[in-house]
């Protein structure tokens, strides 16, 4: 039995009177990809933000490789090897690609103790290498605002990969991409799994998730209502299952 890279137990979260997560439990074995499907407002992004240290949870437990963890800020999660790619990418558009990739974790040089000089040359070289490894060689000194949507997405992915995460969380990784770029990202996800990276992907486009995820969970109104392994299902079965659950949820919301 493979060990779980990440395990969530009964995670609860409310914003004021709104209960967003009502006891979510899931576990992802090492180097597997878990796809979380759900409609807008189902709590997908909130769950990822709890995992990445942005929001504190109200109740429940998070275990990373069997150890309970408690994150107070995004940087805590990153130091624990959990990288998150946000839906809006969270890039500083006035900085170049290299500066974004190393933002908050700059490489330094200099012999005077306590005085950290930025090592531009090293950061540019490493940024160029990681960008090439995600299949997007580009000049690292161009401001992010001059890049295309797909290039920005890959800068965000490169930033997450530069620090060799054990766990990668992606919020709507393909929502803003063309079909062609979706395939680039999907190939990348498959390669990352081979490298031993555990992933949780969140999307409302389950057709994209089915191509890369090993397990699909359906999140409806803050609860996982269905979970199945992709390998055991036919495409039609999965599609009808998900469509049925989500349309039931939509009808329920109307009533």
């Amino acid at each position: 039995m493979p060990s779980n890279a990440i395990e969530l137990r009964d995670i609860e979260k409310s914003f004021g009177p709104v209960e967003v997560l009502k006891g979510v439990s899931l576990s992802v074995p090492t180097s597997r990809c878990y796809g979380l499907v759900g409609d807008n407002g189902a709590g997908k992004s909130t769950l990822l933000k709890i995992l990445s240290g942005v929001h504190p949870r109200d109740a429940g437990e998070i275990l990373v490789e069997g150890e309970p963890v408690d994150f107070h800020a995004a940087i805590d999660a990153r130091f624990a090897g959990i990288e998150m790619i946000y839906q809006d990418l969270a890039l500083a558009e006035d900085l170049d690609a290299a500066s974004n990739i190393f933002l908050g974790r700059e490489r330094h040089k200099g012999r005077i103790p306590g005085v950290k000089r930025l090592d531009h040359r090293r950061m540019r070289a490493e940024a160029a290498a990681v960008l090439e490894s995600v299949g997007s060689p580009m000049p690292t000194d161009r401001k992010v605002k001059t890049l295309s949507g797909g290039e920005r997405q890959l800068v965000a992915v490169a930033r997450a990969l530069e620090f060799n995460p054990r766990i990668l969380l992606m919020d709507e990784p393909t929502a803003a991409l063309s079909v062609e770029k979706v395939n680039v990202v999907n190939r990348l996800i498959t390669r990352l799994k081979d490298r031993g990276v555990t992933m949780i992907l969140v999307s409302h486009r389950f057709t994209d998730l089915i191509q890369v995820a090993d397990t699909i969970g359906v999140l409806v109104h803050g609860k996982i209502v269905d979970e199945f392994d992709v390998a055991n299902q036919t495409m039609d079965d999965m599609t009808s299952r998900i469509v049925r659950l989500m349309s039931e949820a939509a009808v329920g919301a109307l009533q």
Binding site: I75, Y86, A90, A92, D94, S99, R117, L118, G135, P137
Partner: protein, 343 residues
Amino acid sequence: MSDPAGGDNTGGHPVPAAPRTGLSSGIAWARNTISDVGPGLFMILGVEILVFWRTANPYFLTQSNFIEIGKRMTIIGIAAVGETVVIIAGGFDLSVGSIAAMSSVGSAWVVDNGGTLAASVLAALAIGALIGVVNGAITGYGRINPLITTLGTFAIVRGLAYVLTDNKQVTVSHEGFQNLGKNSAAGLPYIVWILLGTYMVFGFIIPRYRFGRYMYAIGSNERAAALAGVRVNRWKLVFYGVSGMMAGLAGLVNAARLGTGIPSSSIGLELAVITAVILGGASLLGGRGRLLGTFLGVLFLSCLLTGLIQSGAEPEFQRVAQGSALILAVLFDEWRRGRLARG
């Protein structure tokens, strides 16, 4: 779509990053600088010529007049360094004039009470930095809009300067302090050297240290910087602290120049400083701007004001000119952004 750097992003042809020679990175630097500072620069040059024409004064181009302009630049210019930092970082500092006044009386008080010149310089910097850090704490940890925060400290600090001095000037008899404001070295007044020194120090720091990197990052996307692990609120203390410290230095220079610490000095300094920074190409939305641009903005404003005085315009007209320049600069910034968004 063509990429002058020779990058081919059509896929399938990974282009190894071209080795950056000193020359090509120099060209890249020049290109970035011109794109950031350039539009402001051309406007500055254009208006500059107008001012030269208007004054129609052969004296305008003489060396002694340049030194006059340089001296006029110092107080605005030193305070503008700190304001540039805060504005690039996405903030705003209205309190620089009040801080300068407080530091001018503070530093004058120190030498007047037997302190050394060094102690008075330290006092000026410390007073400014302290008030700046308070600004930073309120805007950062208190999440109060910087306009409101610094409008508040603008009033508080000015009021305290009056109260603490009993609304009296602090006249200085200390010789070294007066010499600092009067004497020259290598053909330039000390205070102009101080001005140039500040730009050199910050011009050195900004591209080389996290200070500069985070200043642009926080101004560009504060949330992204925080998610990346940048301690945003802590850095705001630094940025506003620097702004206050530079305002304090400007106040010291003013006191040294006049030989007096005056609680009612530097009224309207914030207008001149913010005008210069925006003229220099810094964006009010944060994330963009250059120290070099600010320097040019200060130079322009000083030429404008000197030209106005020498052409015999009413002194009150200086404010009209500064206010107009500020609005024009912001309009220009908007227009530039709009154009960029379309392109």
